[in-house]
């Protein structure tokens, strides 16, 4: 089976230590996490992890099974790129002097669909949100001008199909007398 990009989405209780519990599942199988983000989800007080890995489908299935087994994990899903809308954000810090001299800044920003976050006499901070190839292409364009700093976020993604977390939680609430 071919390795490919899979996005693992994990809905969890907001619990201290859960990140290392989930990360340990990858570590145990010697699988590198390409990117990981954690944030609040659409459900009140439920967290969502987005983890990108390069594995086979067989591997990702088993990993999702192991993740779901963790007590505080409500549900885990895996998706291929085609099943998702996904984005990354990159920040580029460029020296103002290098940048302004050779550059038609306005048309550059327009062409690349980037955004200037901050302008100061010393540096510019440019932000670009998009798919990996887009942030990478901007990186290549800016590199000759001397990037002072570059950073890219983990991938965030939403699936085209539904993820019925609220229903799962509702089902628990109705079947359990919560006192």
């Amino acid at each position: 089976m071919e390795k490919q990009n899979y996005t693992v989405s994990v809905y969890t209780e907001n619990n201290l230590g859960l990140l290392s519990r989930i990360a340990a599942i990858f570590l145990k199988r010697h699988i590198n996490i390409e990117s990981i983000t954690a944030s609040q989800s659409e459900v009140h007080e439920v967290m969502r992890f987005i983890i990108i890995v390069q594995v086979t489908e067989d591997q990702v299935k088993k990993i999702v099974g192991q993740i779901e087994k963790q007590i505080e994990v409500i549900k885990a899903f895996y998706h291929t790129d085609e099943e998702l809308i996904y984005q990354e954000t990159a920040l580029y810090k460029v020296r103002s002097s290098d940048f302004v001299e050779d550059f038609d800044i306005q048309s550059f920003i327009k062409k690349t669909n980037a955004r200037i976050v901050t302008v100061s006499p010393k540096f510019f901070v440019i932000e670009k949100t998009g798919e990996r190839h887009e942030t990478e292409s901007l990186y290549e364009k800016l590199k000759p001008y001397g990037l002072m700093q570059f950073v890219r976020s983990g991938t965030i993604a939403v699936s085209k199909n539904e993820m019925p977390i609220s229903e799962i939680l509702e089902k628990f609430n109705t079947s359990n007398t919560i006192q």
Partner: protein
């Protein structure tokens, strides 16, 4: 708005009292029905030990000689009783010493709650004396773990701990409690945990899958069952027997499934796996329907997966969805508690007898008997063989003893030759293969099952890993019977060296102390057997003793355990020599 993530049930009588965190811990244990805990005191857990002192009439604390012993004893207790075992230790080295036992309980699905003390919360992260991140360390080997830093958390967290440890596929839970949380006071009332919204212990049964399984079994010409510990954990031993008898299916077991079906049941065809019986291993690759019940296709069971039961329709009865399709593809997975699914299955099963198919098992058994079993069990002159000792224990105990085995050759021999009449009689370290498991586990087994004979069968290597627990046996007057099969070798490794490393016996020969003197130092009755003629009398005397008894049997030095499926080989390539 505070989100409720778990359900709780009032425990009557409802009471709210002001107590310290440490006292709350004991009150929680009592509310959960804990009678015995195993542990070792130290600085960060002293407030709890002070309460153990005050509550000593209500709850028994057993001081082991090492924290590893505490976890194994808790495991032994849990394995024979089905209740949650409890181990308790201090921070730092006390906590790290629990790790092996926790890992063992994790891989063998044993319900254990471990409580560790931790440095005061204001010291967390300061590299304080005996500070260790035990939550971080134990994460990959616990079903759940949690650090308590406020006394008010204690009742709910411990309620969750017990619920998680025993429900679904059981496992170990570790609760770390900072010292200040033990001193702090709280308004205590205990509510039992009834559910956690993010945790589904038992998957819903899909009746269609049960029907599909039944259909495959009804149409099978050569069905075979392999059952594991899931049958015991699910309390489904009777149902298993009904299924086997009703549908006339030969049934084999994994080492943790052993004793779920009595050894002398006509359809019990023995052990699968590396040192299992000849017939069930060979016929795994001849059956047309393989029915796996509460087992997880460990590599020691399957041998080479590429050639494992490829001809068969595989039905997998399993409580843990992550186990389905993990190692072996299940054509018909049946998720759920086996107690439920086997009951449903029975309704659809047609009565059958597979006499011709069963006779294949007998034919192959006869080959194994002639080549191996006969020689192992009968005197052939020379030194005593390990199987002879197990056989003598069988005879003298009439198959009614609990046998706790350690890890290595003697373990495989014990599992192969021990006879059991009732369930929860075989206690051994299966998945982790923890040498040193048996002696402390036998303490827990005996205390959990005081009316039964408990015999620990241990090699000379494994015994020396936890022999300090003789001190626990002496102090607590635990009447366990200890049989050391002494071949002055790390026998299993030596066997591999003989077979695969051209007899280069690297660090496997042991120059041993006089074990008898050691046991006598603990004032335990002893006997040493060096000749066959002494064996029967010694085993008899041991089993008749009302106290702890230490029997050392000097066995053949370079015995090999056969049959054997060598690494990478197929189950059907099992070797008889």
């Amino acid at each position: 708005m505070e989100v409720k993530t778990a359900g709780f049930k009032e425990v009557s009588p409802k009471e709210t009292v002001k107590v310290s965190g440490a006292e709350a811990v004991i009150k929680c244990l009592l509310a959960e029905g804990v009678e015995i805990m195993y542990g070792y005191p130290g600085g960060a857990i002293m407030p709890v030990y002070d309460e153990i002192y005050k509550y000593k009439d209500k709850i028994l604390h057993v001081l082991t000689r090492h924290e590893q012993g505490a976890t194994h004893a808790a495991q032994g207790y849990a394995r024979v009783t089905g209740k949650v075992g409890v181990a308790i230790a201090t921070s730092g080295p006390g906590a790290t010493n629990l790790i092996t036992g926790i890992a063992d309980a994790h891989i063998d699905s044993t319900p254990v709650v471990c409580i560790t003390g931790q440095v005061g919360s204001h010291l967390l992260g300061s590299d304080a004396f005996q500070e260790i991140d035990i939550v971080g360390l134990s994460t990959p080997i616990t079903k759940w773990n949690y650090q308590i830093t406020k006394a008010s958390e204690i009742p709910e967290v411990l309620a969750r701990a017990f619920y998680i440890a025993r429900s679904g596929r059981p496992g170990p839970v570790l609760i770390d409690i900072t010292k200040d949380a033990q001193f702090e006071s709280l308004d205590f009332s205990y509510k039992e945990c009834t559910g956690i919204r993010s945790y589904k212990p038992v998957p819903e049964v899909n009746l269609l899958q049960v029907e599909r399984a039944a259909e495959a079994i009804n149409n099978a010409k050569k069905p075979m069952i392999v059952f594991g510990q899931g049958v015991i954990l699910g309390g489904a031993e009777k149902l298993l027997k009904e299924v086997i008898e009703h549908a006339g299916i030969p049934a084999a077991w994994t080492i943790l499934g052993l004793s779920a079906l009595e050894t002398n049941h006509p359809l019990n065809v023995g052990m699968v796996g590396m040192h299992g019986n000849y017939a069930p291993n060979i016929l795994t690759n001849e059956c047309d329907v393989l029915i796996a019940i509460g087992m997880r296709f460990d590599d020691r069971v399957t041998g080479n997966l590429k050639t494992y039961a490829k001809q068969a329709t595989v039905i997998h009865f399993e409580i843990d969805p992550a186990e389905v399709n993990k190692n072996v593809h299940a054509d018909i997975p049946v998720l759920g508690d086996v107690k439920e699914t086997l009951k449903l299955l029975l309704e659809f099963l047609q009565p059958k007898k597979h006499e011709k198919w069963f006779s294949r098992f007998q034919e192959l058994y006869n080959i194994e008997y002639e080549k191996i079993i006969k020689n192992a069990l009968t005197s052939k002159g020379g030194e005593v063989g390990m199987a002879e000792v197990i056989n003598e224990i069988n005879t003298c105990s009439e198959g009614n003893a609990i046998i706790v085995s350690d890890v290595g050759q003697h373990q495989m021999v014990a599992c192969r030759y021990a006879k059991f009449n009732s369930t929860r009689s075989n206690v051994t370290s299966g998945g982790l293969g923890t040498m040193g498991f048996a002696l402390p586990a036998a303490i827990g087994a005996k205390m959990g099952s005081p009316n039964r004979e408990v015999v620990a069968v241990i090699g000379d290597g494994g015994f020396q890993m936890t022999l300090q627990e003789l001190g626990t046996i002496f102090q607590m007057k635990v009447p366990v019977k200890i049989v050391i099969l002494n071949n002055s070798f790390l026998g299993m490794v030596r066997q591999w060296q003989q077979m695969f490393f051209e007899k280069r016996y690297a660090s496997t020969e042991m120059v041993n102390p006089d074990f008898i003197t050691i046991a006598q130092g603990y004032h335990i009755q002893t006997k040493k057997v060096t000749e066959r003629a002494q064996l029967q009398g010694a085993v008899k005397e041991m089993l008749e003793s009302k106290e702890a008894y230490f029997l050392e049997v000097v066995v053949e030095k370079e015995e090999c355990v056969f049959p054997m499926i060598t690494t990478g080989a197929s189950v059907s390539e099992i070797r008889l020599e």
